[in-house]
């Protein structure tokens, strides 16, 4: 058994399977499949096609990529907006014809031809846009019809002008440069396309019009409700699509200088294949320029290589069609199952073995059961929801946070009247007063905040340094939990977990990984640095008596440790209490120079066994609904008093959790102990027998005000 456990422990230490879930939760993971496919295709065809990587081949490929890529990009814009544009091929061929007509027959200047060609494309797009965006016709049918119309115009015009096109000739350096020129060996048209792609990448990912386009594609009605002009957005998507197709046609005309009856035929299918193959969702709302580019490269390399091998046109089309079907299938399955997969694999438990916990029934146990907290006075019953921490100022006013995002103040000395002291928005957790009397608060999901005595709310920090190899963005503060202030003003606060949001904090107990940390905010420089990494649900923090170290609690490992941040022992860590019978939460000072710690829940043998069997918990997380998972027993409240040597001096219980099912915090003030709990609807007040009736925590730490 022991050997078995060692294997399990090593497996969970060295195989970080939580990374799978973190990777899947990234937005860019959508690009993974097309990227892998692209690399595979390049590797495969690159190795079997002679001269694949030769400069001439690459240059030629580059020009084709430029033209085809622009068409794909235009189509991708329409697809992201939730539509489809089948007329891109026809617009492309019209543009080719018109450009040649302008240059060869009418002998216009090249810039004029470009402008008119683009205007023609935009006009075609505007027709689509008006029909689909403003008149709300179906995109598929409409563009199918315009495809036929534009194509017919092309056929008619081509018959009419074909001889004139062939007979006319042009002698323009600019025209040649557009078709043949290159900059440092890179085809000019490719450079142009790259620039356009980069601009569109910025627009789609970073700028307002792009976000609106994506929003319209993702949820038309929501976008409308959010105030976006849906019709105009859709209209311009089609204008851009046809405009880019026209630009591609212009470049094509410059490169080849001629056109045929089959120019642009089947282009819409290739472009659509590229769009979908790159991972742009046909349903709209999910897509990017990089996906379009990858798709275009994939399709071009595929078709060119097939032609190189002598595969006939119709067979190539058939293969392309099969690839399109396959891509649509994968896209649909991926879209449908990604969230499912993520929700199944995100929770990834790890190995945690704890020794058998001390039995409260043992004779002489410091944890002997009692019901001292059953009959406490109750403050604010039903007025507050979720006072995770409580604190008292010099004037006996009592402060607590609520899950509505308020800090509520109960007026001393009787605490019957209350007011909302400040509204911050996130659930306030740990609290402390600094030397100037400002209330410092850790806010779940927001960070570290300061509320001045005149209720001014200031954000102190909401980010720390990003660690080098983390996949989840651990620079953001997700669950700042408890804090204390060093005599020099530095604030040490814990972050319970970087993998879960405030509301899901208990899910971290299923993992038991070192997801938490202690962070230091230095108000003198305004900097935030992570002080200790990899703590298992870091919770309570309190400065120790020497002013150079603090005690901190790690809930799931049932441990309270001490860390020196200054002085001769700087950087050292030592255990104070281990193997507690419950999960420690906040820690605060007591009037006799010792410490109070709240146990937010009690250990149960069934859960302790499960913690040493991560495979069991992983399967549980996948197959059983979260409400039915095994959790720490937080229905019983408990508070312990201990000293820096790790001796338990006293234990207070509320068995059965009648008044205080889950105690996350306690604060001693003038002979009483005030109790808070993150899911309670009340604050408790317990008279501590024999405690100093004049002891005020703020005065005792910062000294009495002059």
């Amino acid at each position: 058994m022991a050997q078995n456990d060692t294997l399990v422990r090593l497996r969970y230490r060295f195989l970080p399977d939580h990374l799978i879930g973190e990777l899947l939760s990234k937005r860019w993971i959508d690009n993974a499949i097309p990227f892998i496919a692209l690399v595979a295709v390049i590797a495969a065809f690159g190795s079997i096609t002679p001269d694949f990587f030769a400069l001439s081949n690459l240059s030629d490929l580059g020009r084709q990529v430029a033209e085809f890529g622009l068409v794909v990009l235009g189509l991708a814009i329409v697809v992201v907006s939730g539509g489809i544009d089948l007329s891109v091929g026809a617009v492309f061929s019209l543009a080719v014809l018109f450009a040649l007509l302008g240059v060869n027959v009418l002998a216009w200047s090249i810039p004029l031809v470009l402008v008119v060609t683009l205007a023609l494309g935009a006009l075609c797009g505007a027709l689509n846009g008006v029909l689909i965006g403003y008149l709300r016709l179906r995109a598929f049918l409409t563009t199918l019809v315009t495809l036929i119309i534009f194509r017919s115009i092309y056929e008619i015009a081509f018959l009419h002008f074909s001889t004139a096109l062939v007979s006319g000739s042009v002698d323009s350096d600019l025209w040649d440069y557009l078709g043949e020129g290159s900059v440092f060996g890179i085809p000019f048209s490719l450079l142009l396309a790259v620039v356009i792609a980069l601009i569109w990448h910025m627009v789609l990912s970073r700028m307002r019009p792009g976000w609106r386009l994506t929003a319209v594609g993702g949820a038309r009605r929501s976008a409308y409700n959010a105030g976006i002009n849906v019709r105009r957005t859709v209209f311009f998507a089609y204008v851009w699509s046809s405009g880019l197709a026209a630009l591609a046609g212009f470049l094509f005309a410059a490169r080849l200088g001629s056109t045929g009856s089959d120019t642009g035929i089947g282009l819409e299918v290739s472009a659509l294949t590229a769009v979908v193959l790159g991972g742009n969702s046909l349903g709209g709302g999910r897509g990017s320029v990089s996906k379009a580019v990858m798709g275009a490269l994939l399709v071009l390399i595929l078709t060119n290589s097939l032609i190189n091998f002598g595969v006939t046109g119709p067979v190539t089309s058939m293969i392309l069609g099969c690839v399109l079907i396959g891509a649509v299938f994968v896209d649909m399955r991926w879209l449908k199952n990604r969230e499912k997969l993520l929700s199944k694999v995100y929770v990834s438990p790890t190995y945690l073995s704890l020794p058998p916990f001390p039995r409260t029934s043992d004779p002489g146990s410091p944890y002997a059961l009692n019901d001292k907290l059953r009959t406490v006075d109750i403050i604010g019953l039903g007025l507050i929801e979720g006072p995770e921490d409580v604190i008292l100022d010099r004037d006996d006013n009592l402060y607590c946070g609520t899950r509505q995002g308020d800090i509520v103040r109960f007026f001393g000395p009787d605490h019957t009247r209350h007011e909302i002291f400040a509204h911050i928005g996130g659930h306030p957790l740990g609290m402390a007063f600094d030397r100037a009397g400002n209330l410092l608060v850790c806010i779940g999901g927001m960070g570290l905040y300061q509320v001045s005595p005149d209720r001014q709310v200031t954000k102190l920090t909401d980010e720390t340094n990003r660690s080098l190899f983390s996949i989840v963005d651990d620079s953001r503060l997700r669950l700042a939990d408890d804090l204390d202030v060093a005599p020099d003003g530095r604030i040490y606060f814990s972050e319970a977990t970087i993998r879960y949001e405030q509301e899901d904090w208990a899910t971290d107990s299923v993992e038991c990984r070192g997801n938490g940390r202690v962070i230091c905010y230095d108000p003198r420089t305004g900097t935030t640095r992570t002080e200790i990494h990899d703590l298992v649900f870091a919770n309570g923090v309190v400065l120790a008596s020497d002013g150079q170290s603090f005690l901190f609690a790690e809930a799931w490992t049932c441990r309270i440790s001490r860390y020196w941040f200054d002085g001769p022992r700087k950087g050292e860590r030592a255990a104070v209490l281990t193997n507690l019978p419950g999960y420690p939460a906040n820690i605060n000072r007591s009037s006799d120079g010792n410490y109070w710690a709240a146990l937010l829940g009690m250990r149960t043998p069934a859960l302790d066994l499960a913690q040493s069997m991560p495979g069991f918990r992983r399967r549980m997380a996948r197959r059983v609904a979260p409400d039915l998972w095994l959790y720490p027993n937080i229905n019983t409240g408990c508070v312990i008093r201990f000293n820096e040597n790790g001796e338990i001096l006293e234990t207070l219980w509320d068995l059965g959790g009648v008044n205080h099912p889950m105690i996350t915090s306690m604060r001693e003030h003038k002979g009483y102990l005030y109790l808070g709990g993150i899911s309670n609807n009340r604050i408790g007040r317990y008279k501590i027998p024999g405690a100093d009736p004049n002891w005020c925590a703020v005065d005792s730490y910062w000294g009495k005000p002059a």
Binding site: K344, E385, A506, M602, T604, P605, A606, L607, L609, A610, M613, F616, R619, M620, R622, R623, V624, A625, P626, D627, L628, W629, L630, Y631, P632, N633, I634, N635, T636, L655, G656, G657, N659, P661, M662, S679, N680, N681, R682
Partner: protein, 379 residues
């Protein structure tokens, strides 16, 4: 038989592949999805609202006899009155695991781990410790066919009734049903290989209805000889126990503990289950219970965490109170609940007496009475 078919379906290469694939995809191959309580089983609080007759720790085996209402508490047999007074009729050497009364007042008493003893009437003092070559160590219920014939369910071939939780968590399926002749005739084994038969009732047509707890169903056995059982009522959301034929036709069915998706999951997790059984006190297992919330050492589930100092009634729970009123073919008509936050959990016995349905909740140690007239009205 039923058991045999199940074994065939799961064994062999194909079964192994199917299980591996299902394990990968997270399918439910064992049919272990707990059905929702809806239709006639829609939750209510009628058991909590019922009139409390009295508090008796560990009350069990309520049975109406011609001489009055009788029940058991540990190894004592009690006479109960309507006002909640109790008088010890007899103390026996082992915990009483079942009681049955014949029309002439003979009591058949199941002694846990020992057998069946008869009290009163013609067969007073007779003991049956084995039937058809098998020891009757787990008599979970009994019913008189006539004054000389008794049908007994033996919940397990190896564990006493007190260890029912172990039988469930070790996937016990060694229960049987015996027809005993009290006049010296041969005992007949009517069924075997049952997963904890825990309740018995005779239908008006003479069929034997048996509750098979660990397979969450009620079976119908032919009255006289061993034959194929048929499933009368299956896919129950709780473990069925004692049954009682109603005077007006139809049946009462007590379900002593709720099924729980986490328990069903643990039943498939062999390694965890083995270590849990080896190292942890049965009261603290992930397993159904007659009562829960006694100590903070019990495991709890996410939905059972108190929010704003409230335990929600719909919380997942290890114990529950549930009584069903069924028609004459065991189809549920109506139900009586005590939910997660209720105080009539672990109903193990039912008796119709004095115009009331007496409900013995062994888990909560309470007897409550339902006026049967109200039940008729509600129907």
């Amino acid at each position: 038989m039923v058991r045999g078919r199940q074994l065939l379906g799961e064994a062999g290469m194909i079964g192994a592949f199917r299980r591996a694939y299902a394990s990968f995809r997270g399918f439910d191959t064992a049919g272990s999805a707990v059905p929702a309580m809806d239709g006639p089983l829609t939750p209510n609080t009628r058991l909590d609202e019922a009139r409390v007759i009295g508090q008796f720790a560990g009350i069990d085996n309520l049975v109406a006899t011609p001489g009055g209402l009788v029940g058991s508490q540990g190894s004592d047999i009690l006479a109960l009155s309507d006002t909640g007074a109790a008088r010890i009729l007899r103390s026996l050497e082992a915990p009483v695991s079942c009681l049955a009364a014949s029309a002439d007042g003979t009591l058949a008493v199941g002694l846990d781990g020992k057998g069946v003893v008869l009290i009163g009437g013609r067969h007073d003092g007779q003991r049956v410790t084995e039937a058809a070559g098998q020891a009757l160590i787990c008599p979970t219920s009994a019913a008189f066919v006539d004054a000389d014939t008794l049908i007994v369910t033996n919940g397990s071939a190896s564990l006493p009734a007190a260890a029912w939780k172990r039988d469930l968590m070790t996937e016990g399926a060694s229960g049987s049903v015996f027809r005993l002749s009290l006049t010296g005739g041969k005992a007949v084994r009517l069924a075997f290989g049952l997963a904890y038969p825990s309740g018995i009732a005779l239908s008006a047509e003479g069929d034997i209805f048996v509750a098979e707890a660990w397979r969450h169903r009620v079976l119908c056995l032919p009255a006289t000889s061993a034959g194929l059982p048929t499933v009368l009522l299956g896919q129950l959301p709780a473990y069925p126990g004692r049954m009682l034929r109603r005077a007006e036709g139809g049946f009462w069915l007590a379900l002593f503990a709720p099924r729980n998706q986490l328990v069903e999951f643990v039943l498939r997790e062999d390694a965890y289950r083995r270590r849990m059984i080896e190292t942890i006190d049965p009261d603290l297992w992930i397993a159904p219970a007659l009562t829960s919330g006694v100590t903070f050492l019990e495991p709890i589930q996410g939905g059972a965490r108190k929010k704003l100092n409230q335990l929600k009634p719909w919380s997942p729970s290890w114990s529950y109170g549930l009584v069903l009123r069924c028609d004459d073919r065991m189809r549920p008509v109506e139900s009586y609940h005590s939910r997660a936050d209720g105080h009539v959990h672990g109903v193990t016995s039912l008796a119709e007496w004095d115009g009331q349905l007496m409900i013995g909740a062994k888990g909560s140690g309470v007897v409550v009475g339902l006026t049967i007239g109200r039940a008729r009205q509600a129907a």
